[in-house]
């Protein structure tokens, strides 16, 4: 045998085989031969390396280079470049999020944080070669146990190690062995549970496929310890490769005498038979599994007697799962202390997880028990793809539960997970992003359990069926009050009364989603809304569903596509009067949810809206009801921001003539006070305000609540209802030493002063603190007013900035400097004037309740010279001050407690909406709140609902459901060049040209299409 210098380890785990690993492996071998390297290079097929999502993958040793997404055609380059010339094939290596290539296996974050005990040989050895397993100290532990240890000695070592069963329940393995050993009986069995069936879990399969001998060795040691001579490995038939490799391994072990009679001359006899399970989930339950091995129908039986006393064929039997057995040999070899040094107080060792779902690196990972969940998902898994937000991790499969983002810091161990209503389970870890509906997830698992319930006991068979019926009803929008309580009651009953583990844990996914996401159930039941945009009966299109004002997005987009601009605008204003305003400042959740992004990128809905608004020549008034009775009912609206004006608009459509009181000299609220003219030209706002005035709404400016009138005086003036939309117009002070020096201000007063009064003092060196839109607006305004240096200081990283990304980009282009991971600690001043801002360097630490990493102060301090410091760190409102003793209930955070569906406060005639209820929120949420309050006020005064605009009307645009989607890329709005915009307040964004707009509109996939369209 020639001395081979290089090994190419091609992963042939199930995942990579499915992506074509076997063909890649063949191609590599061919090219190695063609290049004459057969004597120097061997191609080895190994078990799972882990990062299944980028398969087929291969590692080249001794170089330690890792290649991913290998195609058959890449084999030639790997051979010619890497093997012949020693050059890494850059295009096949892993790319870090920064875009940097990482060729080395050891430098990839995915591998760096892992500790491989169970997977020690997976991806290193050829699972078909017993020699390679032996070379990795294989069967050494068995040799030691058989020749140097007593069975009790083995059990003591296992007990000392603290290893707990990896199948899910976490029972101490050593103790289980002890029970079986102590049980009377001459014939005993050791059983391996390879009936892995949780959706999304494939740990056991990978071990069986990648390192079958580790399971055989573990079983043999266990058999020796408990006094068994026969073993069964119960592997599901859906894992043909695992069965094949395991059987191959058994054959090899027998040939070498590692199984069979008188193993290694010790006098110990042991052999293993494989039993294939035909995929019934319940057969993962120990008693059902044993019944199945006996050749009977796989049904559980009550315990006790426990299998340790009466198991397979009524003999004492010990069942452990695949991963548990794979842990045994290293414990015997390296000692219990070594094993117990990993993990937590009560949970020792490592755990393998199958990462699946909305995570960048789906695949197989092994980590020390107790690693925080967030680190598994973000540091190893690479986080949630496509910029979506993490919502929950489903852990433990159909028996487990969900962990929401508030608990990303939870150490993953048996006890901590149980406290949160989940379980460690066998290791399935499904990451879900904001697009998952938790009610739908619960329905999925119930449906699974219904399919898999063996039917023996009624709680499981009938109980879960009833639960499924209720949850399905909720998903279909037919949920009723009391459904949640019914589900909880049923769930608790089933947990208490079901016969086996399957039934006892079946309600967990429902109970845990109710526990952490009750509001989502309530939204389905009360509001008939699916916030995630999943449940088909409740969602017409995800974009419209995500719009807080409920605009018919596919409707107006398709009308724009047919050049029917007036109709498009009219349709938009059915739900949202501020088409032109929102075309500029809306935070477009519609685009975040656009399903087109699964194909390429979301539709530029805001861009289309802008184009539509540009086409408006004269504003036409919306459809309204004439009503003298309503016109005579006096309604006051306090605050002419988007919430107040929207409420006025919808009340006017119902025939009311509400009066709006505004404290500032100009109507518009934050739209005019805070948002700069380069984002929202004042005429655009004025046009839509005029429209509302023309509908019979009176706006009185310069009239402030608490100064010029009070809530009581409004009541004295016979106002029947009042809508409070006073916003959150107060800035928040920095709260660091020195923040009272001259030259320190806060963003909202800075912006208001410029936008309303027309001028504001601006320094030469301006530092803006904060990462929200107000901070960015202040920075860009300061730049335009002549500041020399503008620096934004933000304590987290750019990715966490709440400001819209396009705004941050534009600010940077205009010369604003970002200083991220920095927090102010002191404002320095000279002679009472600001001279600089002392900052501390931050780093991202643990996960906080918002699911983001909390910034933690480091030791480094630095000073940014400044003659003006603007704090843009929050908005507030002292609501109590203006309430005039009217007993309105406030929330803990000081904002008004109002019914989210009606805006009604604890005082019957007083309604509220916008920022004064939500805290600082968005324009379109305020508009939605105004509409809901208008409908509720009408209902209060008339006792009926007249909101005719809420009826959905089909839009008669053409749509061909048979046609393929058009493949144009997303159109981007052009910006005014930096030079032309940096010194003035001209609008920065430029509208689409007509051809671009119409083409963009055609990109819409028409998710709203339900076969009802006409074919004009």
């Amino acid at each position: 045998m020639k001395n081979v210098r290089t090994h190419i380890l091609v992963c042939t785990g199930g995942g990579c085989i499915a992506s074509g690993a076997l063909e890649v492996s063949d191609a590599l071998r061919q090219h190695v031969q063609k290049a004459g390297l057969s004597d120097e290079v061997s191609v080895v097929e190994t078990g799972c390396l882990g990062p299944c999502v980028v398969g087929p993958v291969a590692a080249i040793h001794p170089d330690g280079v890792f290649y991913q997404n290998i195609k058959v055609d890449d084999a030639e380059d790997i051979v010619n470049e890497h093997l012949l010339k020693g050059r890494v094939v850059e295009r096949l290596v892993h790319k870090a999020p920064t875009g940097k290539s990482i060729a080395s296996l050891n430098e990839m974050p995915f591998f760096q944080r892992q500790v491989k005990v169970v997977l020690r040989n997976c991806g290193v050895v050829d699972p078909l070669k017993i020699d390679e397993y032996i070379a990795r100290d294989g069967y050494e532990a068995m040799a030691r146990a058989l020749t140097k240890m007593t069975p009790q000695g083995v059990i003591d070592e296992m007990k000392k190690s603290g290893l707990r069963g990896r199948g899910g329940a976490g029972f101490l393995t050593g103790l289980k062995w002890q029970f079986t050993r102590s049980a009377p009986g001459s014939r005993k069995f050791i059983l391996c549970n390879g009936d892995e069936g949780d959706p999304g879990a494939f740990m056991d399969r990978s071990v069986l496929e990648g390192d079958p001998h580790s399971v055989i060795e573990g079983m043999a040691i266990a058999a020796y310890a408990i006094g068994a001579n026969e073993g069964f490995a119960y592997i599901r038939a859906e894992y043909p490769l695992a069965v094949q490799r395991f059987e191959h391994a058994l054959k090899q072990a027998r040939e070498l005498g590692l199984l069979g009679r008188n193993i290694m001359g010790s006098g110990f006899d042991f052999d293993i038979e494989v039993r294939m399970g035909s995929g019934a989930f319940v057969c993962g339950e120990e008693t059902a599994l044993m019944t199945s091995i006996e050749g009977k129908r796989g049904e559980p039986r009550p315990r006790p007697p426990f299998p340790a006393n009466k198991g397979l064929w009524d003999c004492p039997s010990c069942l452990n799962n695949v991963e548990t057995f794979a842990n045994v040999a290293p414990i015997i070899l390296k000692g219990a202390e070594w094993f117990a040094s990993m993990g937590t107080e009560k949970s020792k060792g490592t755990k393998v997880f199958a990462l699946a779902g909305a995570v960048v690196h789906t695949g197989l990972v092994e980590v020390p028990i107790g690693m925080p969940l967030g680190e598994i998902i973000y540091d190893i898994g690479g986080g949630v793809p496509h910029g979506k937000k993490f919502k929950a991790a489903q852990i433990g499969g159909p028996s487990g539960g969900c962990i929401p983002k508030q608990h990303l810091n939870v150490p993953v161990d048996y006890e901590s997970l149980q406290e949160l209503g989940a379980i460690m389970g066998s290791g399935g870890l499904v990451v879900m992003d904001e697009d998952s509906c938790m009610v739908d997830v619960a329905r999925f698992f119930l449906d699974f359990v219904q399919d898999e319930s063996c039917g023996k006991c009624p709680p499981c068979r009938v109980g879960t069926k009833r639960m499924l019926e209720i949850v399905t009803r909720i998903c279909e929008g037919k949920g009723e009050e009391g459904d949640i309580e019914r589900l909880i009651e049923l769930g608790e009953r089933i947990k208490d009364t079901a016969l086996c583990g399957l039934g006892q844990t079946a309600p967990n996914p429902v109970l845990s989603t109710i526990r952490h996401f009750r509001h989502e159930y309530e939204a389905h039941i009360r509001d008939k809304k699916c916030p995630a945009g999943v449940c088909p009966s409740l969602v017409s299109a995800p974009c419209s569903n995500a719009c807080p004002a409920g605009v018919d997005v596919p409707g107006f987009v398709s009308l724009v596509g047919e050049k029917r601009y007036a109709e498009a605008l009219k349709l938009h204003r059915e739900k949202n009067p501020f088409a032109s305003v929102c075309a500029r400042v809306c935070f477009h959740t519609c685009e975040d949810k656009c399903r087109r992004s699964t194909l390429d990128e979301p539709l530029s809905i805001r861009g289309l809206k802008r184009y539509m608004a540009e086409q408006e020549v004269t504003v036409s008034l919306p459809e309204s009801i004439e009503s003298e009775v309503n016109a005579s009912r006096k309604i006051a609206i306090v605050g002419a921001g988007p919430a107040g004006l929207s409420c006025a608009y919808f009340l006017a459509r119902l025939g009311y003539k509400p009066k709006v009181f505004e404290a500032e000299p100009r109507p518009g609220g934050m739209l005019v006070q805070a948002i700069p003219a380069y984002r929202l030209p004042r005429e655009e706002l004025a046009r839509e305000v005029r429209m509302i005035e023309r509908m019979g709404v009176e706006i009185e400016t310069g009239s402030a609540l608490g100064r010029d009138f009070t809530l009581r005086s409004l009541r004295d003036d016979d106002y029947k209802a009042v809508f409070l939309a006073i916003g959150a117009p107060d800035g928040v002070r920095l709260g660091v030493p020195g923040d009272h020096a001259a030259g320190v201000t806060e963003a909202l007063s800075f912006l208001r002063e410029y936008n309303i009064r027309g001028s504001v003092p601006v320094g030469q060196d301006v530092v803006v603190v904060g990462g929200g839109n107000a901070a960015i607006d202040a920075a860009r305004t300061a730049m335009r007013l002549g500041a020399r240096n503008v620096t934004i200081v933000y304590r987290r990283t750019r990715a966490e900035m709440p400001a819209y990304e396009e705004e941050v980009d534009a600010a940077e282009a205009e010369g604003v400097r970002l200083e991220v991971l920095a927090a102010p600690v002191e404002v320095l001043s000279q002679d009472g004037r600001v001279s600089g801002l002392k900052c501390k360097r931050m780093r991202l630490g643990e996960f906080d309740r918002s699911g983001r990493r909390r910034p933690v102060a480091g030791d480094d301090e630095f000073i940014i010279p400044a003659d003006q410091v603007i704090a843009g760190i929050g908005q507030a409102m002292d609501v109590a001050k203006v309430l005039d003793g009217v007993p309105v209930r406030l929330r803990k955070d000081g904002f008004i407690d109002a019914d989210p569906q009606t805006g009604q406060t604890s005082v019957e005639w007083l309604f509220a909406g916008g920022d004064s209820v939500l805290g600082p929120a968005s324009v379109v949420e305020a508009i939605g709140g105004g509409e809901r309050a208008a409908v509720a006020i009408d209902r209060l005064l008339t006792g009926q609902e007249h909101a005719f605009w809420r009826q959905t009307k089909p839009v008669d645009t053409f749509y061909d459901p048979e046609a393929d989607p058009v493949m144009y890329p997303r159109a981007r709005m052009q910006l005014l060049p930096v030079k032309k915009r940096r010194n003035n307040f001209q609008e920065v964004e430029l509208p689409f040209a007509e051809a671009i707009a119409r083409r963009e509109a055609k990109r819409c996939l028409r998710c709203d299409y339900k076969g009802q369209c006409s074919t004009r």
Partner: protein
């Protein structure tokens, strides 16, 4: 499977392990010596590929299996090619330049087999 004899004792097991170990250590970085052949364009032009073959043949002939052979890019000393670098586990590195087949044989026999470095072939600094 080649017809491996039956394992009758832990000693038999250890024998198989010793035989198979070197192949696995190639993957896990467990070998004692690492020889890097510099294979930039300059190296290849100067005959690095032949040196690599010579090295492997010599190692094979000397029945040495505790050496990892690796390729690398140009070391920046193109004039000295063909070059190899030998690093041992203790962290020592020895750079040999302007090699030919005879020198490679000497280096394998002296440095690798007997553990005596050959300073006469070191790079001229």
């Amino acid at each position: 499977m080649t017809s491996t004899p039956r394992i009758n004792s832990p000693a038999d097991l250890a024998a198989i392990r010793e035989k198979a170990k070197s192949q696995i250590e190639l993957r896990t970085g467990g070998r004692d010596l690492r020889i890097t052949v510099h294979m930039g364009t300059c190296g290849i032009a100067a005959g690095a590929r032949d040196m690599l073959m010579a090295l492997m043949n010599e190692l094979h002939a000397a029945n040495v299996d505790n050496v990892t052979i690796q390729q690398s890019a140009c070391a920046g000393l193109c004039d000295e090619e063909p070059m190899i670098t030998i690093s041992d586990r203790a962290g020592g590195t020895h750079r040999y330049g302007r090699l030919d087949k005879a020198k490679v044989r000497r280096i394998v026999q002296e440095h690798v087999v007997r553990g005596n470095a050959c300073p006469e072939f070191y790079l001229k600094q």
